[in-house]
Symmetry: C2
Subunit: 335 residues, 2 copies
């Protein structure tokens, strides 16, 4: 049985989506049990309409919320009655509860992971690794996407190994194609950090390193894993997301311009939904924190139930298929 803690507070639509996502996961995965953390009374009320195996659902009462405006390192230490604090306590103190999913403050989740849970032996710093859809119906993982603004070569090398293992374990990708985010595809391109990392990745036969990637090719589907420092990874993810949304806004504006365009848009409506679906992160899971002693998945703040479900499924796969053990085994060699 895999036990996953689901924080029900934080984000835009909690606790409804968190609870609904948990029920979806319970009803799909047989050897999964879930501990919902939040306001017990509220959770019990919200659970009433659902049918599920009650033997596999538990509730932990912790009604306070850590907001994104609080200083993460302070909040995660002092707000002992918060759902996030208690979620960390649950996975920290039990040997058989090893995974958690939250849509709370990213800063507080990273702070909690580092301060309360700690790193897998051999891991220098955990990396935040979200996944994005590509134009070839595959996915691409980006690590680090923001947990570490300042990075050195060893960290990037470890991100490459960890995220490659992650795609193998959680998404069944065979020999993930690993690329290094850089300003050009030629080997000699980039700053000092990139030159050093390129060499390390090229010489490491544990990963399938395919060379440098320019940021414009992120969604091309030619790469499974993109390795970067947290600063440029954050720029990469947010500018890609931002540009996609801006273009869609522009298209929408055109569609609603006048009667003629509205008629055209009406004809295309159903098919355009597919374009929107493609870019909806709710159809994919959350960002995982790679390299921590327990499995931690951060789902998007505006997640819907499907997104929570996918995040729980991710956490389940990572645990079931031994990702943490695989990381520990592999990283003992890059220290």
């Amino acid at each position: 049985m895999i036990k996953v803690v689901v924080d029900t507070l934080g984000g835009d639509h909690s606790p409804d989506v968190n609870i609904q996502g948990a029920i979806l996961a319970l009803n799909k995965i047989e050897d999964l049990s879930i501990i919902l953390v939040g306001d017990k009374q509220v959770i019990e009320e919200k659970l009433l309409p659902y049918t599920y195996d009650k033997q596999r659902l538990f509730i932990c009462h912790a009604p306070e919320e850590i907001s994104s405006n609080e200083v993460p390192t302070i909040a995660i230490k002092q707000k002992t009655n918060s759902s996030l604090y208690q979620s960390f306590e649950l996975i920290k103190s039990s040997d058989d509860i090893n995974a958690m999913v939250s849509i709370g403050s990213t800063g507080a989740i990273i702070a909690g992971a580092v301060l309360k849970i700690g790193r897998i032996p051999g891991v220098k710093r955990p990396g935040l690794c979200p996944i994005l859809p590509t134009m070839s119906s595959s996915i691409v993982a980006v690590c680090d996407s923001g947990a570490n603004a300042d990075c050195d070569a060893l960290q990037l090398h470890q991100f490459a190994i960890m995220s490659s293992l992650y795609l193998q374990k959680a998404y069944y990708v065979q020999e993930p194609k690993v690329a290094l985010l850089n300003v050009g595809t030629e080997e000699e391109k980039g700053d000092l950090l990139r030159k050093e990392v390129h060499k390390l990745l090229k010489e490491d036969n544990r990963i399938n390193f395919v060379g440098n990637m320019e940021s414009r090719d992120l969604l091309s589907g030619r790469y499974d894993v993109v390795v970067c420092d947290g600063f440029s990874g954050n720029v990469l993810i947010k500018s890609t997301e931002g540009a996609c949304l801006e273009v869609l806004k522009l298209v929408k504006k055109t569609f609603t311009k006048n009667l003629k365009t509205k008629i055209g848009a009406l004809i295309l409506k159903k098919d355009m939904q597919e374009v929107k679906n493609f870019m909806d992160y709710n159809n994919y899971g959350g960002a995982v924190l790679l390299g921590t002693k327990k499995t931690i998945v951060k789902s998007h703040g505006s997640s819907k139930a499907t997104s929570i479900f996918h995040s729980i499924e991710q956490a389940y796969n990572m645990e079931k298929r031994g990702l943490r053990e695989a990381i520990e085994k592999n990283l003992s060699e890059t220290r």
Copy 2:
């Protein structure tokens, strides 16, 4: 009279677009003269159909091309018969020829600028500064977008001052809103470099510093200048461009899916053209190299004539309105 050198080789559609762009500029701007550099015989033939003031057009024969595959620093030194080499010679050796426009290899242009032209006194490193359209019909300049992969705080501080002056001089933007590319908008966010730069920019009353910008807001229109190191600037520009193009491809695929969608698309065709136009860099100028002793504009490799025209107009404005002098005056204070 402002004299601008136009390199007619390199890029995808040379020399036709370069020549046509030059004629457009000559016919629009009265106190402009142009020196076309390239294969003299070819240029003369291509000029035949056009009407223009022959007193203001000159040709310099240099028929060789520096390709993007050559090592920039070597090519710019050894290929003495290349159009790019000769373009640099022209602006280097004449006191009254101070600007050039090229669609050639970016690497060779930067190498030539550094090795043959040199920096304005006080400038630590020149920054590459392209402009992008925003959703609010304004433009945004990004500096540095790739000339310097490794940057320090002083360089970023100088990029802020230079690009702010650039927008004032070339685009008549009053008090450009300067932002620092970062992983969050809060003051304390970012890596060590960003924390240092934030302080420098905040204390500098020569610029209108408005704080940190997240990459997703690049096209929002809320900022006129974005300051960054060349590595993350390159990631920012290319991922924004790449994502816009991928979404448009997806929309196009939907439009041509079946008879029904084709009918919808036909109704929207003219209006959708505006979306495409918005993202067409041909409607804007090239990227300028800020901080060099002469004015250097690099137009996109697949530029059409209108883009070359805009690049020449940019170079003209920068010269006419004394951008180089303004940079020298301002930067003598940040050394």
